[in-house]
């Protein structure tokens, strides 16, 4: 289903400990304990659980994440999202119903976010 979009999919029954790197887009429905570095769009599905930092061009969150999110372009938090960590992006969209504890640095008029820096998750 994702071949046309070059999207890698990590299923709901997959649990990964370590760093996941992808040049293209990625969809995560499982559990990840570590960093997610994505050159394209990262979609964290409803069942996704991430303990670590996420870096991508744009991030869409429906699941839970404990870590910082750095997006070059856009962060999208769906109503079911739970985010514990700091976020930084050019554009932000938050639906009513999200749980979000952290710092936010979003300014649509600012320059694109700087290159991602490797670092430990804050929480």
């Amino acid at each position: 289903m994702s071949n046309e979009n070059h999207e890698s999919v990590i299923g709901a029954d997959v649990e990964i400990v370590g760093t996941v790197k992808s040049n293209g887009s990625i969809r995560l429905d499982g559990k990840l304990e570590g960093e997610l570095q994505c050159g394209g769009n990262a979609v964290l599905g409803k069942n996704a659980q991430v303990k670590g930092n996420v870096t991508a061009t744009s991030v869409s969150i429906e699941g839970k994440i404990n870590g910082n999110i750095l997006a070059k372009d856009k962060i999208e938090m769906k109503a079911s999202a739970t985010v514990n960590g700091d976020i930084k992006a050019r554009r932000l969209s938050v639906e009513d119903g999200v749980t979000f504890v952290g710092r936010s640095e979003v300014n649509p008029n600012s320059q694109p976010a700087p290159a991602p820096q490797a670092g430990p998750a804050v929480r």
């Binding site: 856009k74 514990n84 554009r91 932000l92 969209s93 938050v94 639906e95 009513d96 119903g97 999200v98 749980t99 979000f100 504890v101 952290g102 710092r103 936010s104 640095e105 979003v106 300014n107 649509p108 008029n109 929480r123």
Partner: protein, 245 residues
């Protein structure tokens, strides 16, 4: 048909008869009681557009919440009236709307709206109203108390200590700074706000809006184009101050 004896039929019988006639392939003669040319003027039901004027929609008149200035009792009112009596303490409440476009020093106490135009200026006056739109100026001795929405617009930069409101809206192009904790129910931003916000309801940042500082509450909505440079504590399920992160 005219010589037949009229018979009373309930609605269910009519529907059942029509269904049976349709099942048997014998539909009642269309337009039996009106000329055929009248029927041609109407579209058959299947060809009617979805939002056909034939589908009548009932519109409930908008209700607004009135808060008694005397006893604080809140009640809802539908329709328009100039005055009303509080259902609890029988205090007379003015519901008139006022537009201030010049110097104003007369006290206003209304459950309606007060609009202070950019040319308006409040001078040593207390304004109590349901909704207030402040685009003009106010001196240091004036105060505004809103039971519902306060909208700050234009180039006005009032002292936040002179404002009391339940819900706050910052209009587009307006920049407001609150040095102390801002406690509101709903907050809607089309402009820029720098404050430590504690909201019981929804904090909504619309396109062009920007929030700086801290935001604590249960509901946050940021539409694309809105900015948020703040420490954020949004916990829909409970008090963010009591939660474990």
């Amino acid at each position: 048909m005219a010589d037949k004896k009229a018979r009373m039929m309930d609605g269910f019988s009519v529907v059942r008869s029509l269904a049976k006639a349709k099942q048997d392939g014998v539909l009642p003669a269309p337009g039996a009681h009106r000329p055929a040319e009248d029927l041609s003027a109407h579209l058959p039901p299947t060809a009617m557009p979805k939002d056909s004027p034939h589908i009548v929609k009932t519109i409930e008149p908008t209700k607004r919440t009135i808060r008694c200035f005397q006893c604080g009792y809140e009640f809802k009112l539908a329709g328009t009236t100039r005055t009303i009596y509080c259902s609890k303490c029988r205090e007379k409440i003015d519901l008139g709307d006022y537009v201030i476009a010049g110097p104003w020093s007369q006290e206003i106490k209304t459950g309606g709206s007060v609009i202070i135009r950019p040319s308006g200026r409040l001078e040593n006056v207390r304004i109590q109203a349901g909704n207030v739109i402040l685009e003009g100026e106010m001196d240091g001795d004036s105060s505004i108390e809103c039971t519902q929405w306060l909208e700050l617009g234009g180039q006005t930069v009032p002292n936040p200590r002179q404002l009391t409101m339940r819900n706050l809206r910052i209009a587009s192009g307006t920049m407001m700074k609150f040095k102390y904790k801002l406690q509101v129910h709903h907050l809607e931003l089309f402009g820029t706000l720098e404050a430590d916000v504690e909201a019981a309801g929804l904090v909504s940042i619309r396109p062009g809006g920007h929030l700086k500082g801290t935001v604590r509450g249960a509901h946050l909505q940021v539409e694309e184009g809105g900015g948020l440079s703040a420490r954020v504590f949004i916990w829909p399920q409970g008090n963010p101050l009591n939660g474990n992160s």
